[in-house]
C-alpha cells in the first residue's frame, strides 16, 4: 500500500496534498453533524417497536407502505442485480413451473389436434407413445426435433474463466478459456450497448445450424454449443442444472477450474440430452383402452394387408430376378423393387442380347413400371458368342456355326476366300477360346464335297438311335437299317479321302435299375448293336464296343433304352 501511495505522489504531487487537505476538512464537518444524531440509530429499533402498539401498527404500515414501495421500485431500477441475485433461487423454479404448465397446456392441445391423425408415421409414434407411456405430443416433438450438444462450459460470471467443461468426444477441441472469455465480453458488450443497466445478457446466438445458448446465474453461467433444433425443454433442463450447480459452488471465488462432487453428473451431455427429450414433470398418462384397441386393430389390419402385398411383390421380384439372371447376354448388378409397383434394373447388357423387357413385363403385375439402367459389355454367354460369330463371320449357306464350352466349330463347305477369312477372324471373336475348323472345307477343294458328306454322315449317325422295347428287343428295325447305310457310305467316303474310319457302339438305359445291372445292360445293348451291324455287312474289324459308362453330357438327354453308333476318323496311316 505504501508503495502505491508513493506512486500516486510521484504522479500527482501537490494536487494530491491539496486534495487530502480538503478531504480532511469535509470529514471534520461531517463529524460535527453526525454527533447530534449519534444516539438515533441506537434508539430506532425500540422506537419502531413502540410505534406498533395499539393501532400504531396500521398507522406505521400506512406511513411506510408508500416509501417502501418506492424504495423497492428504486432498488429494482438501480440495484436490480442485487435483487435478482437475492430472488434467483425463488424466481427460477417459479418461472419454470409456470412455463411447464403452459407447455403442458400447449402439448395437450397439440395432442388433441394430432389425436385423429392416422398416417403411418402418426401410427408409429402413437405406438411408441403407448409403449413408453410418454404423451403422444412429446413423442412427436422428440421425433421432429433432433439436436446434438457439442460443448458445455460452466463459466465463472465475473472473470469469464472456465470452471468446468464437457465436450462431445467427436467434435474438434476448442480453446475453452479464450472462447468463454470472449462470450463473457460479448455478453457484457451487448448488455452495455443495448440494455443500459437492464439485467440479462446474451441468451442465444445462431450461425446456420450452430447454436449458442447462454444460461445465466448469479455466479456462473452455462454456455452450450449445439447443433440442430433443440426442444424448448432443454433450456429448462439447463436452468435447473445451473441452479443445482450454484448449490455446489463454494462461496469463495473459484480458483480457475475446480472439481466438485456432482458437477460432472450435472454437466453430463448424454444425461442432458436425455433429460431434454423427456418431460420429468408430466405425470404418466392414463391410457384409454378403446381407442387404442381400435387403433391396434386398424394397425393390425393394415399390417396384414401390407405384409401380404409385400410378400406377393417380393415373389414377383424374385421371379423377375431369376429370369433376368438366366437371360443370355445380360449381367444383373441389382434389381431395385423397394418401391412397390416400380422396378429398376441395373446391370450390363451385350448389344447383341435381346431386351428382356417383354419377358419381365409378363412376370410382374400389370401396372408395374419397368426401367433399365444398362451399360454395355461383351458377354461370353454361349448363345451370345454364337450370335456374335454369326454376325461377324456372315457364314454362307452350307456352313453351320456351333459354339459350346469356349469352342467355336464351323462345319460345311464354303468358298475358299470365305474359309480363309473365317480362319483368320474367328479366333478374334470375344468369347472364343478354341477354334474347330476340321469340318470346314473350301468349295474349290475337289474333295470338299466328299469331306462335307463325311461330316454330314457323322452328324446323321449322331442323330440315329435304336430303341428297345426291353432288353435287346428292338422296337423298330428302321434306324438299324439307316445306321448300316450311313456306316457303309462313311467307309466308301473314307476310302476316297484317305481316312481311317471306326465305329463305336454305345448302349443306354433308362432310369430304373441298379447300377451293376444297368451297366451290364448297356454293355449288352452296345454288343448287340455291333453284332447286328456286322451281320448286315459292316466290317466287324471297324466296329467296337464303346465305353459303357455313358458320358455325362449325353446321358441325361438319351436316358432311355437305346443304342447308338459313333463315327471316329483319323488320317489313315498311308496318308493319302
Amino acid at each position: 500500500m505504501g508503495d502505491y501511495q508513493r506512486l500516486k505522489e510521484l504522479l500527482l504531487g501537490d494536487e494530491r496534498a491539496e486534495l487530502d487537505r480538503q478531504r480532511e476538512r469535509l470529514a471534520e464537518l461531517a463529524r460535527d453533524v453526525e454527533h447530534d444524531r449519534a444516539g438515533l440509530p441506537r434508539e430506532l429499533p425500540r422506537l419502531l417497536r413502540e410505534a406498533q402498539r395499539g393501532d400504531g401498527r396500521d398507522k406505521l404500515v400506512d406511513a411506510l407502505s408508500a416509501p417502501v414501495a418506492s424504495a423497492l421500485g428504486t432498488a429494482v431500477r438501480e440495484q436490480r442485480q442485487t435483487i435478482v441475485d437475492a430472488l434467483f433461487p425463488i424466481i427460477g423454479p417459479a418461472i419454470r413451473k409456470a412455463i411447464v404448465e403452459a407447455l403442458r397446456d400447449f402439448s395437450d392441445g397439440f395432442n388433441r389436434a394430432l389425436e385423429s391423425s392416422l398416417t403411418p408415421r402418426g401410427l408409429k409414434w402413437r405406438f411408441e407413445a403407448w409403449r413408453t407411456g410418454v404423451p403422444y405430443a412429446q413423442v412427436v416433438l422428440k421425433n421432429t426435433l433432433s439436436f446434438r450438444l457439442d460443448h458445455l462450459f460452466l463459466i465463472e460470471r465475473d472473470s469469464g474463466l472456465v470452471i468446468a467443461r464437457e465436450s462431445a468426444p467427436e467434435v474438434a477441441d476448442l480453446d475453452a478459456d479464450a472462447i468463454s472469455g470472449m462470450l463473457t465480453a460479448i455478453g457484457d458488450f451487448v448488455r452495455d450497448s443495448v440494455g443500459g443497466d437492464a439485467p440479462g445478457s446474451l441468451a442465444s446466438a445462431t450461425v446456420g445450424e450452430h447454436l449458442l445458448w447462454v444460461v445465466e446465474g448469479p455466479r456462473a453461467n452455462l454456455a452450450v454449443f449445439l447443433r440442430g433444433v433443440p426442444p424448448a425443454q432443454l433450456r429448462l433442463v439447463l436452468q435447473e442444472r445451473l441452479e443445482q450447480i450454484h448449490a455446489l459452488l463454494p462461496e469463495a471465488p473459484a480458483d480457475g477450474a475446480v472439481t466438485l462432487p456432482g458437477l460432472r453428473e450435472a454437466l453430463d451431455l448424454d444425461r442432458l440430452r436425455h433429460a431434454a427429450a423427456l418431460d420429468p414433470h408430466a405425470p404418466p398418462k392414463k391410457t384409454r383402452p378403446w381407442p387404442l384397441v381400435l387403433v391396434a386393430l386398424a394397425i393390425g389390419g393394415a399390417l396384414a394387408w401390407w405384409l401380404v402385398n409385400d410378400w406377393l411383390w417380393a415373389r414377383h421380384l424374385h421371379d423377375a430376378e431369376k429370369a433376368l439372371r438366366a437371360w443370355p447376354g445380360v449381367h444383373v448388378d441389382g434389381i431395385d423393387g423397394s418401391r412397390r409397383g416400380a422396378v429398376v434394373v441395373r446391370g450390363l447388357i451385350d448389344p447383341l442380347a435381346e431386351s428382356p423387357r417383354a419377358a419381365l413385363a409378363q412376370l410382374l403385375p400389370p401396372d408395374t413400371s419397368l426401367a433399365f439402367e444398362w451399360r454395355g459389355y461383351v458377354s461370353t454367354d454361349p448363345a451370345l458368342v454364337a450370335r456374335r460369330a454369326r454376325q461377324l463371320l456372315a457364314p454362307p449357306e452350307g456352313v453351320r456355326v456351333a459354339f459350346a464350352d469356349g469352342r467355336l466349330a464351323l462345319r460345311g463347305v464354303a468358298p475358299a476366300a470365305w474359309v480363309a477369312a473365317a480362319r483368320e477372324r474367328a479366333a478374334w471373336i470375344p468369347g472364343v477360346a478354341v477354334l474347330d475348323l476340321d469340318a470346314l472345307h473350301a468349295a474349290e477343294d475337289p474333295s470338299a464335297a466328299q469331306e462335307a458328306e463325311l461330316d454330314a454322315v457323322g452328324e446323321a449317325l449322331r442323330e440315329l438311335k435304336v430303341e428297345f422295347v426291353r432288353e435287346t428287343e428292338a422296337a423298330d428295325p428302321a434306324p438299324l437299317e439307316a445306321m448300316r447305310a450311313q456306316a457303309l457310305r462313311a467307309l466308301e467316303l473314307a476310302a476316297m479321302l484317305g481316312y481311317d474310319v471306326r465305329f463305336t457302339c454305345h448302349g443306354y438305359n433308362d432310369a430304373p435299375g441298379g447300377d451293376v445291372l444297368n451297366r451290364a445292360l448297356r454293355e449288352r445293348r452296345a454288343e448287340w448293336l455291333c453284332a447286328e451291324l456286322a451281320r448286315r455287312g459292316v466290317p466287324a474289324d471297324r466296329l467296337s464296343r464303346g465305353d459303357s459308362v455313358a458320358d455325362a453330357a449325353e446321358a441325361p438327354t438319351i436316358a432311355l433304352r437305346a443304342a447308338s453308333l459313333r463315327l471316329e476318323r483319323a488320317r489313315s496311316a498311308d496318308g493319302k
Partner: protein, 166 residues
Amino acid sequence: MTELARKVCMLGDFGVGKTSLVSRFVRNTFSDKYLTTVGVKVDSKHVALPDARTVKLVVWDIAGKSALDALNLNYLRGATGLMLVADGTREASLRATLNLLMQARDVLDDPAVVLVVNKLDLVERWQVAPATIAELRRTLPVVETSAQSGDGVEAAFAELARKLAA
C-alpha cells in the same frame, strides 16, 4: 488435476503496443478484428512456472483508451492480473498507464501487476528516463520490452504468471 487459470487484462494508452505484445505472446484464437468490433479480444496461453507447475493466462486485450469508462471497467471484472503497458518513446503514455492502474484498483482487489515499458528497439528515442524506471522499480516489477523484436515479452508475462501463482 485442477488447472490454474487466471484472467489478465492489458492496460495502457492507445498505441503503446498492447495488441502487438499479446500477438507476440500467444497463438491467436481470434482475429484482431474483434478488438475494433467488440472492443476486446481474449486469448490464452500456458506459462510454465519455475516450480514446474503451469498457469494458464487468459489475456484480455482492451481497445486502448487513456481512461477507463464503465464499459472497460466491466471488462476488468474478475481479473487477478494486470499487464500495464507504456510506450518508452512517449513519457505521457507512462503517466496515462499509471492513472489507469489507479482506476483499476478501485474495482479490483489487490491485483498482481507488471509494468512493461515497450518499444525497446527504439531506445535511442526514449523519453522515459532510466532514473524514472529505477524509481518505479521500487514499487512495481518493470520489464523493458520490444513487441517488434520480442525482447522481454516472455519475461514480462512469466513475471506476471509468477506473481499470480504466488
